[in-house]
Amino acid sequence: MSVMTVPPSRRASARRDRAGYLFVAPFLIMFVAMLVAPLAYAGYLSLFREQLIGGVRFAGLDNYIQALSDERLLDGVLRVSRFFLVQVPIMLVLALLFALALDSGAMLLSRVIRLGIFVPYAVPGVIAALMWSYLYGPQFGPITQLAEALGLPAPNLLSSDLMLGSVANIVTWEFTGYNMIILYAALRAIPTELYEAAAVDGAGAWRIAWSVKIPALRPALLMALIFSVIGSFQLFNEPALLQRLAPNVIDSAYTPNLYTYSLAFVSQDINYAAAVSFLLGLVIVVVSYTVQLAVARRRR
């Protein structure tokens, strides 16, 4: 078929296609340069081993085999799994309650409150670290001072028993507002006809929240949940910040991401770090997919 026989409309659509590609090109370029290429390179690196004496050699899947039986890595994965199971429900329920309360319009100063809940998300990690290290301080921190003033034994929030809870508290503080905004935005998008219909049927505010709003929020909640899965398994900033205060509680393998960082930049073992990252990525994919499947099934 020669070019001449192509109907004009098809040529126009081809031109439109090309224009489309042009529009997504900036994204594609960044996507390939910043995500695909590094991923491929990390995958390549994970197949090698480099020693200070002896240089680089091909290791095949040795790094992966080592990682699968690495107790430190396994402990970290179990730790963040526990963290996920406890912290995420608390955070998402809080975010949902705030979003519903703001959306109900019954709250005074709703703008100020909305901003107030969101602000922790905007606080830079270093500032947050300074603040929380002050608050958690076992000698001079306000929590300790308060406990002492009340004659109670002061909890050591940086001890190995309470550390995971202390980390969970910071994460909840930081990200409840972020999730609230996602849910709140979804609430604003629900057509008011639904509320009117529910009201006609005699539903009160609570009934509307339970039977109309929350079901309509399901996609947004699922998204927040998936983000939280990824976030939990990639937990890094908060434990890294508290590590300075309690280095003997938060060791270099406290979370899988801390471990990866330590492998790459302390042990100079970039190859093994790459293998561990890939395995961690795999875990996240599996857990995210399982969560998504579970939620989708319930919807049916």
Binding site: M34, L52, V56, S133, N248, A264, I270
Partner: protein, 460 residues
């Protein structure tokens, strides 16, 4: 939960890996070249005076990575003396941050500076990867006598290479609260036995006060005290042979001493340089701070409320009448092997740290503690009086201490790992009040395992 921020981090790390990857091919070549050049046993040929003269007249731009503030002032002195050469100063972040960038740039094969600030303990790590230039051919050996022996020892390689020029040091001493000591009738302890007795007495008299805080978040003080006690924990025996001895008799004595005080509860184990620690110093919770020569100035700016109450003394000794100390910290200027202007770079590293005017400026502008014999015996430096320390000649005390640091202490090429492992073994046993000897054995074990995995033959 740190999804958006984490994603940035992941991208950053991935980009670093990516950059590192681009140069995967060239790394092998560079390293190979190095082994042929200086890695061998022979000494490279000296550069002639004529060549040096010519290079210093040729228009050149050098890049210098450092984390010192206002170092431009010293750099200007160099540029004034050698107008053809200009030096671009880049603050690449503090120690670890800078090293990570440097390693990435070296792997990438471009973007590395000509001259770089490196702490003593990290020199072997960069030297073994062939990243540093041996400065002997540029006349660095002639500078040996200008520096204190133990500082020069740390920049010297196994075959006599000069890997860097010393910039500052941290001989260790003891800062103490005279007011607290006086109140409880305690004399500054001269031996560790007296120190232990004072710790018990002080804490019994005032349970809110500890004689000192022994941090378990890094091993700098520990290493300094090993140094003082004469332990030689790390040695390079050959190109791929090392000895690790961190759990010997003396180390165990050190461990049982400190863990004893910690278990008795008369010494605290707070993380140092944390908010809590700064407050504790300001509020008189610690009666001494075992620290390095850079400590006095640091304290005077971070515990302003305690002005005039502190004094300085040497470290307590294991044997009465002896005088020994260890070192904590200090940096050097090293020339990166990939430099295109080795002569100018070598001369810059040399000038910055040994030119009398520049070296003096380092002590007055950046408040570094000098490694040059000239400054350590210069009345204008050592006789300065400090109000914060009740008019004491603080520099003088440390200049005397500097002369008592054992000279044969060395580092291994993977100190990051060794330091990190300390937190998780010895540091942890101190903090958890468990058996310190077991912690030491564990430390020995983790270092050995890592070293063997890296291809070293390890002896005890």
């Amino acid at each position: 939960m740190t999804l958006p921020r984490m994603r940035w981090l992941a991208v950053g790390a991935a980009a670093a890996l990516f950059l590192a990857g681009c140069a995967g091919g060239t790394t092998g070549g560079t390293t190979g070249g190095t082994t042929g050049g200086t890695g061998g046993e022979g000494k490279p040929a000296a550069i002639s005076q004529a060549d040096i003269h010519k290079a210093m007249k040729t228009p050149t731009e050098l890049t210098f990575w450092t984390w010192l503030p206002d170092i431009d002032k010293e750099v200007a002195l160099f540029e004034k003396k050698y107008p053809a050469i200009s030096v671009k100063v880049i603050n690449a972040g503090n120690s670890q941050a800078e090293y990570t960038k440097l390693r990435t740039a070296l792997k990438a094969g471009s973007g590395a500076p000509d001259v770089v600030q490196i702490e003593y303990q990290h020199i072997p790590g960069f030297a073994i990867t062939g990243s540093l230039l041996d400065l002997r051919p540029y006349g660095a050996e002639a500078l040996k006598d200008r520096f204190v022996d133990w500082a020069w020892g740390q920049v010297s390689g196994r075959n006599g290479e000069v890997w860097a020029i010393p910039q500052d040091t941290g001989p260790m001493g003891m800062l103490y609260r005279k007011d607290i000591f006086d109140k409880h009738g305690i004399e500054p302890p001269k031996t560790w036995d007296e120190f232990a007795a004072a710790a018990r007495k002080l804490h019994a008299a005032d349970p809110g006060v500890y004689l000192t805080n022994f941090p378990t978040n890094h091993n700098s003080i520990w290493t300094g005290l090993m140094w003082q006690a004469g332990v030689k924990p790390f040695q390079m025996k050959g190109a791929d042979q090392i000895s690790v001895d961190v759990a010997g008799e003396t180390s165990k004595k050190l461990a049982s001493y400190w863990s004893g005080l910690v278990k008795e509860g008369v010494v605290s184990t707070d993380a140092d340089f944390s908010d809590q620690w700064f407050q504790a110093l300001n509020k008189g919770r610690y009666a001494t701070w075992l620290t390095a020569a850079w400590g006095p100035l640091f304290l005077s700016t971070s515990a302003k409320e305690t002005r005039g109450k502190w004094r300085v003394a040497p470290l307590p000794q294991w044997t009465a009448g002896e005088q020994k100390s260890g070192n904590w910290g200090g940096s050097t200027s090293a020339v990166v092997k990939t430099t295109k202007n080795p002569i100018a770079a070598a001369k810059f590293a040399e000038f910055l740290n040994s030119d009398p005017e520049s070296a003096r400026m380092l002590t007055t502008l950046q408040f570094l503690y000098p490694p040059t014999k000239a400054l350590l015996s210069d009345p204008a430096f050592v006789e300065q009086k400090s109000d914060f320390y009740g008019g004491q000649q603080v520099n003088k005390v440390f200049a005397d201490i500097s002369g008592t640091v054992p000279t044969d202490f060395a580092w291994l090429p993977f100190m990051d790992q060794i330091n990190n492992d300390w937190n998780e073994t010895v540091g942890k046993s101190l903090a958890d009040k468990t058996d310190p000897a077991a912690g030491l054995d564990q430390w020995q074990q983790t270092i050995t395992t890592y070293a063997e995995k890296q291809g070293f033959k390890v002896a005890r």
